[in-house]
Amino acid sequence: MRVTSFRLLAMALALLAGGALAQSPVYRVYVANESSDLISRVAFTPGEGAVIENEIAVGVMPGDNDGAHGLSVSPDGRYWYVTIAHGTPYGYVWKFHAGPDTLVARTRLGLFPATMGITPDGQFMLAANFNLHGDMVPSDISVVYTPEMVEVTKVRTCLMPHGSRVRPDGAKQYSACMHSEQLVEIDVSTFEVSGRFGVAPGHEGAMAADGGGGDMAEHGGDQVCSPTWVEPGQGARANRVVYVACNKNREILEVDTDSWEVSRRFATGKAPYNLEVTADGARMVATLKGEQAVAVFDLESGEEIGRVGTSRPVTHGVVASPDGRYAFVTNESVGSVPGTLDVIDLETLELVATVELGHQSGGIDFWPGPPASGGVR
């Protein structure tokens, strides 16, 4: 673990200011730093900035980078989960008590477990096994029963599943297949694939649920979408639409999951990567991995209302505060330059805070905080 004097100072300030901060709205996020095997818990206080509250080392291999990749907080805020992607060869998910940040359990998953979606009741965690190993073969979504941290099944989906998300009613889980040009839906009540949607440009449309998850070549076309993320709609569009980031085609698709049609398209900048829709469904934030920026969309009008540059390159993850006021964005950066967390005010569309984290900051989720902390829930 690299502990800089800057971070020590920041942590000390956070502790000293704890009493005062308890009276202010405090927003907290957990961030996974993939090349540091380090988790950062960051507190942001409007007007005061962002500080690192805690750093938690993960991984067991000092001679290898274990690769903390995806991070998700349970809906009740009691736990957080991080996927340890690299493995030998199978990766893990680690479960921690949020707040004390103590390890609860570790569970082995598949090859390169990446992002996770958690059902609203917190019972099931569905992790996309991205599988960077060897020849492209269809991979799985691991289903973990979180009370006992038992992987109860793997659901075979497609090539390189990524961006696992569960829609608000908990009935369906979605993931994008980067090399199958598909969006895959899993019925959470049966853990079966219940829908597939092709996202290859010009060939968008429903596919047979029990169809293959093979190579994108079979879907034709010179252009590729290479979807990296699926984000379910919220608010009025909850449980009806999902948004798919076409990383290579510079657009986001809004897919109606009732009719299985593309209902809208959003042009973006270079390499849209992760998406976040605010809880009221009004706005969507897309990280633009290739532009060192985020794009903010008004989902009512369908217009991009702002593009905000980020502090470091390779912009990766994004989560919005439950009140929809702020977006928290991770930037991987390059090489030995540490990653950062940026806080973007979604009203003023300005970057309002930045804090330097570990290397390759990526997976992120919002933590409501302990009930007595005054944190924004």
């Binding site: 540091s36 000092p62 060869p89 598949g110 190993h133 799985d140 006992e148 029990d210 390059v334 540490p338």
Partner: protein, 737 residues
């Protein structure tokens, strides 16, 4: 049944019969009630007794769609459904146990069982009746087997757990469904045995002798199945008996045939003639004095009444200590090799068919204590340090290149011509978070460094031109088919062998033109769950560390087995129970013993020092010593294990093994002569040095990564503190006043 195509999902069927649809699942989503669909799944009145669990007090619901033609008895009590839960969840309340059918699940290594065809999962209620319509989720978490695409596949001989889960309403009746988990054991066996061979013990069967026989269960491919039960029998028990472990007690003269039977039908035999025991005296010959760790060879002459030597008499050795202590301190092996871990006086006894002889041996301390003297340091405090390579550059000066880790991005070039003062001359920065390995070719004209964690996730290797070794420059960046990251590399002639994290194969690159690298070959094992870590090449043989699959020895230019640098040929492999094979280093010592030193890297050790404050998160692992006299049949003969730490990289020169032992620092071990047993306990460790420092990246925390002896010094890289230059010198004795 061999696996083919996608897995199959068995759907519930109102007739209580299973139908199969082509949905590919990683693990099986299984509907109980399918039992009865096939000959394997037919519900048998003589099925095993009902589950032993006590009857559930929970309300029981009737399945929404009971199978009308089910041969199973219906559950007599039918409680009301629990509102708010789907029928598939409600019916889970009735389930008391889930079992496999057949009850004993056995799969062969390399073979698979198709779920729903070869293996069914059946739910029962407390009365022992099948419960239909239950969704059963199945999974396996084991190194011996996996469940993938609807098939249970055997990876290696051993026991695995098949976990079966169902959803049910919670006991409180409110809240989310809970998962009930059940398990069944799964046995992975080796391939079928086609022949049994009893190894000739090479001794005469004399009355009064006890001789152990070894049975080898041979497979069709010519391999030997490891885990196998052998039934031993003697055709003339009055003359010789044999016990369940193959020990033959020789009683009376006559012809005897011993049989070893595997799987009730494959039998091998061994016949011998029992002779009256002529041995009247036993002479034990061997050294009377030695040091701890020395392998002392003993031999036996059995003599008859006339003083003649009785050839071929069976010998059992034993050793006893005259010391008063809890541990024996010495061992003697069946071949007469004695080695002591503790000084003292020992008695070596040889038993020849009931007659004994003995010899005394005095063992003294090995007395090779040395000390490590720090000559120089190259502190790296701003980032972790990884591997190193020391060499003499074309300018005649000496250099060490070091890699960096976890946000490192750089390879550092040190001029170490004056070892007391390593001078950082330059660094090469690449798009990577980990530059794990650094290697320089034989002519010191080209170096290769590995890349992991590139910002665009295209990793591969970077080739350096060493025209000016103090200031290496990038000649080529090669990423083709290596984007998953390269962890280690090794030069062999004009070729570079790259360990690719993605394919988990060895990629063979032609590097004769450093500015135009080209892949010319690839080699890897074909096993699910494989993991590749390292490669070392010497004298035309490559040693490939394949984690739980052990070390593989390849002919890449030795030519005895037909291999070439671009088309390697497997010579042999060696796997062991601990797994985690991390590194291998071949070495023939001054006495001509060819050994392979294999290091494993084990974490999640409950008894170890915690690195992250996580219980059981310390590193372990040790060095296995393999006898390579016959490269086709490596044999483990010794080990070196520091009890409180975990081994990492090693190097051997002049009969000294240098091991970077992570938190235990640099260890120096005498590996001269013949090696047997536990080298650490024998006092063969002659020096050690903790590579922690207050000014390190992590203060006072040794994390030794890799050693390399070079021109009388030992260069050591440490994750937390950078480069160390040390000398290993005899320990000075305190002056006598």
């Amino acid at each position: 049944m061999l696996r083919s195509g996608n897995g199959l999902l068995m759907k519930n069927d109102p007739r209580g019969r299973g139908t199969l649809s082509g949905v590919a699942l990683a693990t099986l989503l299984f509907m109980a009630g399918c039992a009865g669909s096939t000959s394997r799944a037919t519900i048998d009145p003589s099925r095993p007794p009902p589950p032993s669990e006590p009857p559930s007090a929970e309300p029981v619901v009737q399945p929404e769609t009971p199978p009308p033609d089910s041969t199973a008895a219906e559950t007599p009590n039918t409680p009301a459904p629990t509102p708010g839960y789907t029928p598939a969840v409600q019916i889970g309340a009735r389930v008391a146990v889930v079992r496999t059918e057949p009850a004993e699940v056995v799969v062969e290594v390399g073979d698979s069982l198709e779920m729903g065809e070869d293996l069914d999962l059946v739910a029962y209620d407390a009365a022992g009746n099948p419960v239909h319509g239950v969704r059963i989720l199945a999974n396996i978490d084991s190194r011996f087997a996996i469940l993938e695409g609807g098939y249970v596949m055997g990876l290696g001989e051993g026991e695995a757990e098949l976990r079966m889960s169902i959803q049910a309403p919670p006991a409180s009746g409110t809240g989310p469904p809970e998962i009930k988990t059940f398990s069944a054991s799964l046995t992975v066996v080796g391939p079928p045995v086609v022949d049994v061979e009893i190894v000739d013990p090479g001794v005469r069967f004399l009355t009064g002798a006890l001789v152990r026989l070894e049975a080898r269960a041979l497979t069709a491919e010519g391999g030997v199945r490891r885990r196998v039960e052998v039934e031993w029998t003697s055709n003339r028990r009055r003359l010789a008996t044999v016990d369940a472990r193959g020990f033959v007690t020789v009683l009376r003269p006559g012809e005897v045939t011993i049989s070893a039977t595997v799987d009730d039908e494959i039998t091998g035999t061994y016949s011998f003639e029992v002779k009256e025991n002529p041995v009247e005296a036993v002479e034990v010959t061997g050294p009377s004095r030695g040091r701890t760790g020395d392998v002392l060879r003993y031999s036996v002459a059995a003599r008859d009444a006339g003083g003649g030597v009785v050839e071929g008499a069976p010998v059992d050795y034993a050793v006893a200590s005259f010391e008063t202590r809890t541990d024996m301190g010495a061992s003697i092996y069946p071949d007469g090799a004695f080695v002591a871990e503790r000084p003292g006086l020992y008695r070596v006894t040889a038993n020849v068919a009931g007659r004994t002889g003995q010899a005394l041996v005095e063992v003294v301390e090995r007395g090779m204590e040395h000390e490590v003297v720090v000559t120089g340091r190259g502190l790296v405090a701003d980032r972790p340090t990884s591997d190193l390579w020391a060499f003499t550059g074309n300018d005649g000066r000496d250099y060490v290149y070091t890699g960096t880790h976890l946000g490192g991005q750089r390879m550092l070039a040190w001029d170490v011509t004056n070892p007391a003062n390593p001078v950082l001359t330059d660094f090469v920065e690449v798009d990577a978070r980990v530059v794990n390995d650094v290697k320089v070719n034989h002519d010191a004209t080209v170096a290769a460094i590995t890349r992991e964690g590139a910002s665009d996730r295209k990793n591969g290797i970077v080739v350096l031109d060493l025209t000016d070794p103090a200031h290496p420059v990038i000649a080529d960046t090669y990423t083709k088919d290596l984007s998953g990251g390269v962890h280690n590399v090794f030069f062999w002639g004009d070729y570079l062998y790259a360990i690719h994290n993605g394919t988990l194969d060895v990629h063979i690159l032609d590097i004769s033109d450093p500015s135009d690298v080209e892949e010319v070959g690839r080699w890897g094992i074909d096993k699910p769950g494989k993991y590749l870590h390292d490669i070392w090449i010497a004298d035309g043989l490559a040693y490939v560390s394949y984690w739980n699959d052990g070390v593989y020895i390849l002919d890449v230019g030795d030519f005895r087995w037909g291999g070439t640098p671009t088309v390697p040929v497997e010579v042999s492999s060696f796997a062991y129970e601990e797994g985690n094979t991390h590194v291998a280093f071949p070495y023939t010592n001054a006495d001509g013993h060819p050994y392979l030193f294999v290091g494993d890297e084990i974490f999640d050790c409950e008894d170890c020092i915690s690195r992250n404050g996580v219980p059981g998160d310390g590193s372990r692992g040790f060095i296995h010593v393999l006898d390579m006299e016959d490269p086709e049949n490596p044999r483990e003969v010794a080990r070196y294990e520091v009890p409180e730490a975990g081994a990492h990289n090693l190097w051997i020169e002049d009969d000294r093994m240098y091991v970077a032992y992570y938190q235990a620092g640099l260890r120096v071990v005498d590996v001269s002569g013949e090696l047997r047993g536990d080298l650490y306990r024998q006092g063969r460790e002659i020096a050690w040095f903790p590579t922690g420092t207050p000014d390190g990246h992590v203060v006072n925390s040794p994390m030794a990564w890799g050693p390399q002896p070079f021109k009388g010094h030992v260069f050591v890289s440490d994750l937390n503190s950078g480069l160390w230059v040390v000398r290993v010198v005899p320990k000075k004795k305190a002056p006598i006043s």
